[in-house]
C-alpha cells in the first residue's frame, strides 16, 4: 500500500541528515509501529510518508502513485492524521471537532446527513456521546486522545498515522486508545502507522515494528522477532541489557 524508497532528509545543509536512505513497505491492514531514540527521525519519516513535508530525495508511493501527485483532498481520503495533542485554543465542541474529519468528502457550508450519522456512530463507539457538546479544552488527556481518534475514524480513510498518540496518557488511557485502534483496524481493515516509545505495548498490539537508529532502518519485522534484547540495546544505545532494567 505504501512504499518508501531511499528516503533522505535534512532540515538544513549545515545539519546532519535526519533520514539517511530509508526504504520500507507497509501492507494494507497492518498495524505498524515506528520506534527509536529521540532525534532518530521517527516523526520526520511519518510526516514525509504523509505528504506534509516535501520530499528532498527518494520516493513515497501510495498505491504505486507518487505522493506529490495527490491533491490535499485526495490525500485526506487516503490517510487520517492523529496529532500528539489538541492543536487549537478555540472553544470547539467535541462534535464540531470530530465533524471536521468529514471535510474531505464534501465541500460547501453544510454537512450531509451521512456525515452526521457517521459522527454519531463513532461518538457512540468511542463512548463520547455524553461529551458531544462539551468544549474540547475542558477534557482530560485520555478523553482528548479519544476525540482525536474519533476524528480520524470518521474521516473514512484507508490509513491512520499517529504521531506519539500516547504521550501524557496514563496506562489505562494508553491501553484504551490502542484497544480502540486495534478494534477499528480489525473491523475496517484500516492500516495504522504509529510513532511510539513503549515497546511492551508495541509487542502487545502491533503487527510490525520499524526500529530507526540515526536516520536509518536498523531492523524491521514482527515485534517478536525484532524486539530482542540485543536489538533493543543497540538501537537505544543501552549499556545494560533491557531485561535487567
Amino acid at each position: 500500500m505504501i512504499q518508501v524508497q531511499s528516503l533522505r532528509y535534512q532540515f538544513s545543509a549545515k545539519q546532519n541528515e535526519i533520514l539517511n536512505d530509508v526504504s520500507l513497505q507497509i501492507s494494507q491492514g497492518k498495524l505498524v509501529a515506528i520506534c527509536g531514540l529521540n532525534g532518530s527521525g521517527k516523526t520526520t519519516l511519518l510526516r514525509l510518508m504523509a505528504g506534509f513535508l516535501p520530499l528532498q530525495q527518494g520516493h513515497v508511493l501510495w498505491k504505486q502513485k507518487p505522493i506529490q501527485q495527490f491533491e490535499a483532498q485526495e490525500l485526506a481520503q487516503l490517510l487520517a492524521w492523529v496529532p500528539q495533542d489538541f492543536p487549537t485554543s478555540f472553544p470547539f465542541t467535541v462534535r464540531e471537532f470530530v465533524m471536521m474529519g468529514r471535510h474531505c468528502w464534501q465541500k460547501g457550508l453544510f454537512f450531509s446527513k451521512e456525515d452526521h450519522e457517521r459522527v454519531n456512530q463513532i461518538l457512540l463507539d468511542l463512548d463520547l456521546s455524553d461529551f458531544a457538546t462539551r468544549v474540547i479544552s475542558d477534557l482530560s488527556g485520555g478523553e482528548r486522545q479519544r476525540v482525536l481518534l474519533a476524528r480520524a475514524f470518521v474521516q473514512g480513510s484507508q490509513a491512520i498515522f499517529l504521531d506519539e498518540p500516547l504521550n501524557h496518557l496514563d496506562i489505562k488511557a494508553r491501553l484504551q486508545v490502542l484497544q480502540q485502534l486495534k478494534t477499528f483496524n480489525q473491523q475496517q481493515g484500516v492500516t495504522a502507522v504509529a510513532v511510539l516509545h513503549d515497546l511492551s505495548l508495541v509487542k502487545q498490539y502491533f503487527d510490525e515494528v520499524v526500529l530507526l537508529h540515526q536516520g536509518r532502518v536498523a531492523h524491521k519485522g514482527p515485534p517478536d522477532e525484532v524486539l530482542t534484547d540485543q536489538n533493543i540495546a543497540a538501537v537505544f544505545e543501552l549499556a545494560l541489557s533491557p531485561s535487567s532494567i
Binding site: 504523509a50 483532498q73 487520517a80 485554543s89 470547539f92 471536521m100 474529519g101 471535510h103 457538546t133
Partner: protein, 326 residues
Amino acid sequence: MRLNLLFKIIALFVFCVLAILAFAFLSEPVLSFADVAQADSLNHYIFWQLRLPRAVLAFAIGAALSVSGVSFQALLKNPLADPYILGVSGGAALGYVLGVVLGMPFFLLPVLAFVSSLACLILIYKLAQTDGVLSVTNLLLVGIVFNAFSFALILLINSVAHFGQAQQILYLLLGSLDPLPWSRLLLILVFLIFGFCFLWLRAKEMNILSLGDEDAFHLGVNVQREKILFFTVTSLLVGASVSLCGLIGFVGLIVPHLARLLIGADHRLVLPTSALLGGSLLLFCEFLAAHLIGFETLNTRLPVGAVTALIGAPLFVILLKRQVRS
C-alpha cells in the same frame, strides 16, 4: 440546538436594525418621526443625508473590522490577533497616506490601502515565524514594531504634506466616521458584503485552518491556496475600512471573543454574529464619541478611534492575561 442558535442570530439582527434607527433618531438633537416624515425640512435632510449614512457606515465598518479580526485570529491560530494590533491597519494607512501626498485620485486610494495592507500582512506573517512556527509573542511583537515603523513613516510623509493633506492624514490616524453620499456608501456596502459572503462561504475551511497547517492539510484543505485567498479578501476588507474611516483599533480584537462567548467556535456562526455585534459596537462607540464630551458645549466631537481604544485597550489586557494563563 441549531434552532436556538439561529434564533440568537435573528434576534441580534433585529437588534442591529433597531440600533441603527435609534442612532439616527436619538443622536443630539433628537428627531421625531414627524420631523423626518416631512419632506424638504431640515430634519428630513439631517436624518437621510447625515445621520442614516453615518449610522450605516459605522455599522458596516464595525462589521468589516470584526470579520477581519475573526479571519486573522483563525488563520494565525491566535485569539489576540486583530488588524490594528498586527500592524496591518497601519500598513493600509501608510499606502493611503502615500496616495494622498502623491495626489492620486480618490478611487485609487482604497486600492493602494489594500495593496499595502496585503504586503504588510505577508511581511508580518513571514517575520513572526521561526522555523515554520508562528508564536503568539512573536506575532504581537512584530505587530508593535510594524505599527511604530508605519507611524514613523506616516509622520515623515505628513511633515512634507501641505496643510489640507496634513488635516486629512490626521483624521486618518485618529479614526473617524464622516457621512458619505449614498452612492459611494452603497458601492462600499456591496464591496464589504461581497467580502463577508466570500469568507462566510469558506467558514468550514476557516474552522479547519484554525487548527494549524498540519491538521488542516491532513483534513483535506489546500493550506497555501486557502491562506492566500483568506489573506487577500481580509486585506481588502481592512484596506477598505482604513481608507474610509482611518485607524479604528480593538473592534476586530474584542468582538470575535464576544461572539465566541455567545455562540461557540464554529466560524459558520461566529462570522455573522461578529459582523452584527461589531456593527452595533462601533455604532455605540460613535454615539459615545458624539455625546461624551458634549458636542453642544465644545462644538467638537471625539474621533471614534479614541473611544474604541479607551474601551478596547483594557479589554485587551484582560484577554492577554487569560491567554497567558491558559
